[in-house]
């Protein structure tokens, strides 16, 4: 499973197409029957306020380590063939993708459950922090919305 935390803007569908074509398909030809993906995108509103921009801080080293642990847990819990996890950091504008999670497996149950697990674990355990730019100034997002 490939994990990347980077300031470079994300192109989720292009990244998924490329990773499937270059990595998953050659390694597991004819073996994957299911791919479940999630793409998180920056909205222009949050908690009733217009949001003009966002700064995404992380903890270099720990963030990657925690994402690796989450991936290991997913591979231990479900029967998975491969995965891709991309997370943006730094300055973002509305409509820009923040996160991509993808999982490939033989059967759909594993892909669906592992994809959601990785996303929820990332939301609760990976050290990222969002600061939103509003008309009235900036604020740190205090907690994530509920995922279940």
């Amino acid at each position: 499973m490939k994990i990347v935390v980077d300031t470079t803007p994300l192109s989720p569908w292009e990244a998924l197409a490329e990773y499937e074509r270059e990595v998953v398909a050659p390694a597991h030809p004819g073996r994957y029957g299911a791919a479940a993906t999630f793409v998180g995108t920056m909205r222009d509103f949050n908690e009733g306020d217009a949001v003009q921009g966002m700064f995404l801080e992380h903890y270099p080293g720990m963030t990657e380590k925690q994402l690796g642990l989450i991936a290991d847990e997913a591979f231990g819990q479900w029967s998975l063939l491969d995965g891709l996890l991309l997370h943006r950091v730094g300055e973002l504008k509305p409509s820009e993708p923040i996160v991509v999670v993808a999982v490939w497996s033989a059967h759909r149950k594993d892909a669906f459950e592992a994809c959601r697990f990785i996303m929820e674990a990332l939301k609760s355990r990976a050290p990222f922090w969002k600061r939103e730019e509003l008309h009235s100034g900036s604020r740190w997002v205090e907690k994530n919305s509920e995922g279940y």
Binding site: L56, Y59, Q66, I98, S124, W140, E142
Partner: protein, 94 residues
């Protein structure tokens, strides 16, 4: 830009000491006024002791998360010389 708090040294009781690297993130970095510090402390210390010394005696806010060497732990975790001790607010990525 928020910089490094520098070195925070506590008078030692028996001459033994250890040095740990402290990091703050996000809103906590702003509250502390720096993104980290080097803390020199007596031989036995918990993450909470490190916080107290680095923060100049402020109470550890209840929702602050604690990591030692990039793994989650709690404030009662015993740190050793060379450890990296991080304090940060609830995470909000994804």
């Amino acid at each position: 830009m928020i910089g490094w708090c520098g070195s925070v040294r506590k008078p030692l009781i028996e001459g033994n000491s250890m040095t740990v690297k402290v990091k703050f993130f996000a809103s906590l970095k702003e509250q502390m006024g720096c993104d980290g510090a080097t803390v020199e402390i007596g031989e036995v210390a918990t993450a909470a002791d490190i916080w107290l010394q680095a923060s100049g005696g402020k109470a550890l806010p209840p929702n602050v998360l604690v990591a030692v060497n990039m793994e989650y732990t709690d404030q009662n975790h015993a740190v050793k010389s060379g450890d990296e001790v991080a304090f940060f607010p609830p995470v909000t990525g994804g």
